[in-house]
Amino acid sequence: MNSSLRLRAGLVSIALLAAFLGIWHLATRSTAPVATMSPEYAKLMGLTATQGKSAMPGPLDVGAKLWEHLKRPFYDNGPNDKGLGIQLAYSIARVGTGYLLAVLVAIPLGFLIGMSPLLSKALDPFIQVLKPISPLAWMPLALYTIKDSSVSAIFVIFICSIWPMLLNTVFGVASVRKEWINVARTLEVGTVRRAFTVILPAAAPTILTGMRISIGIAWLVIVAAEMLVGGTGIGYFVWNEWNNLSITNVIIAILLIGIVGMLLDQILARFTRMVTFPE
């Protein structure tokens, strides 16, 4: 029953994909009337005018281009022409660095805030004000103070991924069941051991949920940040290809951004399952 449900769902997914590709293909066929013009003039005009091609690339164009990229993902022909693998690696490295820094700050800080009602109340106004700020709003300030565009991008990732982790850690730590704490207290377990043996495992699912939200936001933000800072990365690639008017490459980049985002989310989802305990 379950496997047949999965099979049927898979078939529906494939059918939907086929329908989408079919409609896309039909919509971008060469149907426009071809104007008659002198060969010299035709050379100046694009394919849309001379052969009636649609300005939007069809699925076959995108597929062919994608195959080309996949064959050579790591070529490097200078600053504006690098393989997609290299661009993605830059983006993932930035997200990874900023995200790990955020983990290092958010989780210990969240523990402190969650365990101390005083800190929780004292820091609350700051968190409430800082949290809703769009991470990109920090960009000019980061560029001005850090004076390095690549580090600024990492800072923006750091600042955007810290809040969900911090808030979830605080919530997870503060809402550990009183009875579990009491167990540790009656066993005379010290504060540090209690933090690691009771509070951390009890709050881990909530913390991991925060980390999963954060990685999603970080991946959303890196594209926009790289469009601003430029140089390398998948976000810069999208913007560069837009300037080149290569819609095919833009579509390929969109597809890859989606796939990488999904993979990052799946990794964190797996970690979350590892620390989740049934009650």
């Binding site: 069941r177 009875e179 579990w180 009491n182 167990v183 207290r185 009656t186 066993l187 005379e188 377990v189 043996t197 009771v198 495992p201 009890a202 620390v275 305990f277 049934p278 009650e279």
Partner: protein
């Protein structure tokens, strides 16, 4: 009551109420227990039973007064006093063995893994969970979870056990077997135990002494009832003992009526010398009719009672 292993001396618990007033849950509470004694507290919800237990455990501090255990005033929690929680309070990410080992390694920090494991295993065997060591709490039934709770409490070889309605969430059959287990273990190990319960039969079966508390706020310990039933009593023939109904009716009468009226009826009640009630004279105590019984058992004028 010469041997005061546990002595609660004039404790009070007050909470700040609305508008600067304070709510007194109970005050001037005196209570003592001998070594190896099994005591049950019975009283309605809100009389502060759990607060008394939490104070004994060290999880809560009294607003006034002190608690002395084994000649020493307590301050905070201690590995000498193990708590069995109503909701079993097992750590769900640890196995049965992991939960018991956590307690063992908290008590004996220098022990190596093998020693901790062997010690924990002994207590898992004692509560009859051999073979389930590697299960997680979520895979256990309610009764088995509470067995783990008992094993965890016993594994640290405490001087006394504190139980807050440990069996109230269990079905009647499981509750019965666990009562047997607890009674057997406490008798075998000479454990001093303090238990809160709502179940009169549970108190009669398990307790040597039953503390009756009046309704809160302003609850007082009204009486200490000595259990007249023999020490080798069995759960199945408990109700055949000639003094069983006398004892049971006395407790139920207290809960139904006297717990509300006690403070007004006995204004001269001295909380430091709570009357110790012996249920005696078997001939008078067997209930024939409930109505007669109630008239017979008016406090003070009772031939079967010698306060």
């Amino acid at each position: 009551m010469t041997d005061k292993f546990v002595s609660i001396e004039g404790i009070a618990k007050r909470y700040p109420g609305a508008g600067g007033a304070t709510t007194t849950i109970f005050e001037n509470l005196w209570l003592s227990m001998a070594r190896g004694e099994f005591c049950c507290v019975i009283g309605h919800s809100g009389c502060g039973k759990t607060t008394v237990l939490n104070i004994l455990a060290g999880l809560d501090a009294p607003s006034e007064g002190a608690v002395i255990v084994d000649g020493q005033a307590i301050s905070g929690t201690s590995l000498d006093r193990a708590v069995i929680f109503q909701s079993h309070a097992l750590l769900p990410w640890r196995t049965v063995l992991g939960n018991v080992s956590y307690a063992v390694s908290s008590k004996w920090r220098s022990w190596d893994r093998a020693k901790v494991k062997a010690h924990a295993q002994n207590f898992i065997d004692l509560v009859g969970l051999t073979g389930s060591e590697h299960k997680r709490p979520s895979e256990l039934s309610g009764g088995m979870k509470q067995r783990v709770g008992i094993a965890r409490a016993l594994s640290i070889t405490p001087k006394m056990m504190l139980m807050d309605e440990p069996f109230s969430a269990l079905d009647a059959l499981t509750r019965g077997t666990l009562q047997d287990e607890v009674r057997r273990i406490c008798l075998e190990t000479g454990q001093t135990a303090f238990m809160i319960t709502h179940d009169v039969d549970e108190a009669i079966y398990l307790a040597d002494k039953i503390f009756l508390m009046t309704n809160g706020p302003g609850a007082v310990l009204a009486e200490v009832v000595e259990n007249p039933l023999p020490r080798d009593r069995g759960r199945t023939d408990l109700h055949r003992h000639p003094l069983y109904y006398a004892l049971r009716n006395h407790i139920i009468d207290f809960l139904v009526t006297r717990s509300k009226t006690f403070t007004t009826e006995k204004p001269d009640h001295d909380p430091r010398n709570v009357p110790l009630v012996h249920i005696g004279k078997p001939g008078l105590s067997i209930a024939s009719s409930g109505e007669e019984q109630r008239q017979t058992w008016t406090p003070g004028a009772n031939p079967g009672l010698t306060a």
